[in-house]
Amino acid sequence: MIESAAPFSTHLDRLEAESIHILREVVAECERPVMLYSIGKDSAVLLHLARKAFYPAPLPFPLLHVDTTWKFRDMYKLRDEVSSDPAVQLLVHTNQDGLARGISPITHGSQIHTDVMKTEGLKQALDHYAFDAAFGGARRDEEKSRAKERVFSFRTAAHRWDPKQQRPELWSLYNTRKAKGESFRVFPLSNWTELDIWQYIHAERIPVVPLYFAAERPVVERSGSLIMVDDERLPLLPGERPMMRRVRFRTLGCYPLTGAIESEAATVEDIILEMLSARTSERQGRLIDHDGAASMEQKKQEGYF
């Protein structure tokens, strides 16, 4: 027997080949794909894989950034660099209605902010451009309910995810059939772990936001999390004063909702070594996951990535 499932080389080679296969399958079978671009490390890897998959052609789909307007300044900087590449078309969408209502993570809390500015904003953009497949950088190792997520995650015309309606996925045969209005969220990084991501960034020298590397940054400590004072919009509580700490971020979202960790890891190599001895999982820095028991599963059913 010719063993098609046996490794042909290293784990990174195998993961890369699988992701490229998925990216190409979507472009070959879907009408209007888009790549969700969140500016973080997973997005950086996904974008790099896409360039490889379609080389020498330019990316056959646009990138979409759903902008809550609360990202770190360094993230906007990298986003602008990426969009200056003529081979890349970047779309930016902000929920204007949410913006007009003044929705912010500070006054409304993480749940409402995420619902309105991320989940709603994403649905608006997908509907507006009539995208029928959206790539995301989610990985199965991130969170319990993600462990059962399909690579091609089917969504109803209302963008809902029904855990009981997901199609079985065998081999590398993906069923891309759907009716008009229905869509897929596609996760080419499903089988990658956080460590794989960093090893690949290291091996392929992929540029990422400097916030992942340790530096002296102004932070305040709130309910056990270190929140960076990235601009003047973060109101200080009575008696609170930003202090300079040597910190970095394992995950990047809206800055008032993203906790930093104290670290000395200033290079990709340092980060990998730190991870090998790390004792907390990466999503701990995400405040939105703690909103309620099984909260990620619920957010996904409502259309969150």
Binding site: I2, S4, R167, H202
Partner: protein
């Protein structure tokens, strides 16, 4: 670790990181029922290989106290039961993927439920696995479920099995029990053609022989589970395997570049190699292997690449490149093993979409030869396949495919079946071999063709397909259309549901299965009549959308005209011209459309006649006018 490492440290660090990046990957599946302690075993592996972080561990401890089954101890099973609904029921009902890594290897575990009603999930998990860990409860030995798990594992092409004989603590770590289970299993493995079996006595709950060797079983000298998983040799591929690559996407950014992207299913390729494009059979030569990092000197199995050929040959998605002198077999009829995954049964004669590698075709399952009783490992006669059934069938495709038997090639031998209307993945299949007849029957081309026949008759052949409930008025309207056209000296024929059942279809009953075959035969006859130039009227209840769709696709574009004779059930039942509704209501007729069998109304019929508003005569006139407008009737 600080940013200021010395040159020596940097050097060692770089080597260390490089080593880590060169780990290989083992994908395995764990098979066992809830009671076998499968989740505990996986939880234990994650825990002991230190893949659990402090916050996950804290959450696990809290969960264990709240819903755990182990008192104050950590319940590892909770770690791997993902969805909230499943946690409440205390069972895993889907496939979950887990990840862990050691210094030597990265692992992806497919965790699937073991009960019979989850055969489809197990097959899904097994389809991408290199190895299977089969759990056995030491107190119970080789059970019916062990046979089922082992059969599915061997069917999906996994040749290496680890037999984890669990709960050794509950049998006093008795060596004779271990030895007897091992011997029992060896006989089963031999029967199923599983090449390699390693039996390990473990206690998942206490950790014996999972990661560290057990002090309780000094008689066992073999590897621990993790030790075996880390060192099991992933058999090197045959170096001389033929090159095979399904073309996934044609990369054509401009007139100067034309590349063929795909993932290599087997073998290696390098510039200068002669290749064959299948199924067309054309030959070409590989000119370049293009990549983002520069042209490659060669590429091997599993790699996703882009090839540029030396000549302009016609290649599109779905074609397969092979070594020129080792082509694949091409066929359109196969014997295949099918794992059915849908609540709605597989119906013989219904058309499905079949996707294999990068090609999708229309396919019909002709006879189901037998169903495999996965518990007894015996063949049983079967008319159809239900959810979680595994059966051997004949499959007929509307086009020829390049394929390989699954036992030889897990990529070119695998397919999925997709429902044409719901778009669900309803089955997974493995090609066994091509049926000889598909190579020997060729279409006979004739000189007098449909155009000539149509011209002689001053009309274009077509099929008017009248569908609707019994009593809606189909036969009445068909009869009026027929009279009208005949009066106009047109050539017609009416295929009536009842009449056809007196002859051609008299062997068929009214089960869903027989209804599908009934429609298939009538559609084929109608197709021949349309080809002969006749305006063919089909008056059939034809309750299922997918069969009407099948009929439509048999015909040429524009040749099939669906006419929905619409009467609400209450109205049709009131008319009841043959007294059938009354009989059905009394329970004397079963599978009667509208009563205990569904009618799926057309969503895009060319013509809809509302029989509560339009008389049969007006309906016939409307339909004849429609034919005239479409140019079906040539005026002289």
């Amino acid at each position: 670790m600080s940013g200021q490492t010395t040159a020596v440290q940097t050097n060692t660090l770089a080597t260390y990181l490089e080593q880590l990046e060169k780990k290989d990957l083992l994908r395995f599946i764990t098979c066992g029922s809830v009671d076998d302690g499968k989740s505990s075993l996986i939880g234990r592996l994650l825990y002991e290989s230190q893949m659990l972080y402090d916050d996950q561990l804290a959450a696990l401890e809290a969960d264990s106290r709240r819903v755990g089954t182990r008192g104050q101890d950590i319940d590892f099973a909770l770690l791997v039961d993902g969805l909230a609904a499943e946690r409440e029921q205390g069972i895993t009902i889907d496939v979950a993927y887990r990840f862990f890594a050691t210094e030597r290897r990265k692992f992806i575990v497919a965790d699937t439920p073991g009960h019979e009603q989850y055969t489809r999930n197990m097959a899904t998990g097994a389809s991408t696995a290199d190895l299977a860990v089969i759990l056995i409860d030491a107190r119970k030995g080789v059970l019916v479920q062990t046979r089922r798990h082992s059969y599915i594992v061997s069917l999906l092409g996994i040749r290496r099995v680890v037999l984890a004989i669990n709960k050794m603590d509950l049998v006093d770590y008795d060596e004779t029990i271990y030895a007897s289970i091992k011997a029992d299993y060896a006989r089963l493995a031999q029967r199923l053609g599983i090449e390699s079996v390693v039996a390990i006595p473990v206690s998942a709950v206490h950790g014996d022989n999972v990661v560290a060797a057990s002090a309780n079983m000094p008689w066992y000298q073999g590897p621990t589970l993790l030790n075996h998983l880390e060192t099991v040799e992933l058999k090197a591929r045959q170096a001389d395997a033929p090159f095979r690559m399904p073309v996934q996407w044609v990369n054509r950014p401009d007139q100067n570049f034309r590349g063929f992207a795909g993932t290599i299913a087997s073998g290696t390729v390098q510039p200068g190699d002669r290749i064959r494009v299948q199924p067309s059979g054309r030959l070409s030569t590989v000119k370049r292997i293009v990549s983002f990092d520069g042209d490659l000197p060669s590429a091997g199995t599993g790699k996703s690449i882009t090839l540029v050929l030396a000549d302009e040959v016609d290649v599109s998605r779905g074609d397969v490149f092979t070594t020129a002198d080792q082509p694949l077999e091409c066929a359109d009829q196969f014997e295949a093993t099918i794992i059915w995954m849908s609540e709605a049964p597989l119906l013989q004669g219904r058309q499905y979409l079949l996707k294999t590698s990068t090609r999708t075709v229309a396919a019909t399952v002709t006879p189901v030869k037998y169903r495999v009783n996965v518990n007894a490992l015996e063949h049983e006669p079967a008319e159809r396949l239900e959810l979680n059934d595994i059966g051997v069938c004949e499959v007929e495709c509307d086009r020829a495919l390049a394929f390989a038997p699954y036992a030889e090639d897990r990529t070119l031998g695998a397919f999925i079946l997709i429902d044409r209307l719901t778009h669900d993945t309803v089955g997974a299949g493995l090609f066994n071999f091509a049926l000889r007849r598909s190579q020997n029957i060729h279409w006979q081309a004739m000189d007098v063709d449909r155009t000539v026949r149509a011209a002689m008759k001053r009309q274009r052949g077509c099929v008017l397909w009248l569908t609707g409930l019994s009593g809606a008025g189909k036969s009445t309207i068909a009869n009026l259309i027929d009279r009208r056209l005949t009066a106009m000296a047109r050539h017609t024929y009416v295929l009536d549901g009842d009449n056809v059942r007196h002859g051609l279809n008299k062997d068929l009953g009214f089960t869903a299965q027989d209804r599908v075959e009934n429609i298939r035969r009538v559609a084929e006859v109608a197709k021949l009549m349309a080809d002969a130039g006749l305006i063919t009227l089909v008056s059939f209840i034809s309750p299922f959308r997918s069969e009407r769709q099948m009929a439509r696709e048999l015909m040429l574009p524009g040749e099939f005209i669906e006419v929905y004779i619409d009467a609400p059930l209450a109205v049709a039942e009131l008319r009841d011209p043959k007294g059938l509704y009354k009989k059905a209501r009394r329970g004397e007729l079963s599978n009667f459309t509208g009563i205990d069998s569904p009618y799926e109304a057309p969503s895009r019929a060319e013509i809809r006649i509302d029989t509560t508003q339009v008389s049969p005569a007006d309906a016939a006139e409307q339909i004849v006018d429609y034919l005239d407008r479409l140019g079906m009737l040539v005026n002289t």
